[in-house]
């Protein structure tokens, strides 16, 4: 390494400016394409980890990786899907090994977790008047989390995050036919759970049109 001297300084400066403009451009593009999905990513991480601080770590790690490899993101494709895939891989590497066995659900944990972060916006838009009308957010959440992971995952990606079947198939590394049948069976299971809640309140579930 040379000692800095005034003659070199000018040259370095121009080089620096042009490179940093490039970097700056990448930064802007990254913010426009990737950072806008921060909320979705955070919610996805919450569903996976059920722990706010783990979710934060996971999202942070995901963005760090995404920024580093942003050049390999195929422009014009769905950036949100790309980020979800990175997050899922991070999750598998980091958390899944130590976490609960699939299928085993800790209802108390879910309940506690839900209450611990429930200071948030209350969704006022109710579903059209039907027998699910009186279901609580918490119950739907609990029902969703009682599903085996393979079903919960596709429902989440499809109904909450609005991905196409092709994108979901890519994310869960299964054929589209599998995505279709998992969604079919998952929704059926979910409906049974929700009907259980509805019945608990004495709402007649057979009376729907």
């Amino acid at each position: 390494m040379d000692k800095p001297d005034p003659t070199r300084h000018v040259k370095t400066r121009t080089k620096k400016e042009s490179l940093s403009r490039e970097e700056r451009q990448k930064q802007l593009e990254f913010q426009k394409e990737a950072v806008v999905h921060l909320n979705s990513l955070y919610n996805y991480a919450l569903h996976l980890t059920m722990n706010p601080s783990d979710a934060e770590d996971l999202v942070q790690e995901t963005y760090l990786k995404a920024y580093r490899f942003f050049n390999s993101f195929e422009r014009g494709t769905n950036c949100k899907a790309w980020l979800f895939k990175i997050l899922k891989n991070n999750y598998i590497n980091r958390f899944r090994k130590n976490s609960k066995e699939p299928g085993k659900v800790d209802y108390d944990l879910i309940k506690d977790f839900y209450h611990s972060i429930k200071d948030i916006q209350n969704d006022t838009s109710e579903a059209e008047s039907d027998y699910f009308h009186s279901l609580l957010h918490e119950e739907v959440y609990q029902a969703l989390h009682s599903l085996p992971e393979e079903f919960r995952e596709v429902i989440q990606l499809c109904d909450i995050d609005g991905f196409t079947y092709e994108e979901i198939a890519n994310m869960v590394e299964s054929p589209i036919g599998t995505v279709r049948s998992r969604l079919y069976r998952g929704r059926k299971l979910l409906r049974e759970q929700l009907e259980g809640y509805a019945k608990k309140y004495g709402i007649n579930t057979d009376n729907h049109q």
């Binding site: 279901l135 499809c158 059926k188």
Partner: protein, 85 residues
Amino acid sequence: MNCQKACVLMSAAVDSELSLKEEQGFFLHLSECKECKDEFEEAKKTKLIIKEKIVQFKAPKTLINSIMELTSLSTMEHEETLLFE
């Protein structure tokens, strides 16, 4: 189309993911089969429930800030290495 085939297509019908041909066959079957029609309505409803009732949380401010920093930090690091080149 029979009920079994309709079930295979059910979720894709809910999500408008059917091909034109599949769609025609599926809805023709629904017009003839009350059981499948009911099932389809229920599946649509279930999707709607999930969409509306699952609360989306806002990412905490600290997280937002750290993500914003993350991108500008790497720029600064980059500049520094160049300065000491």
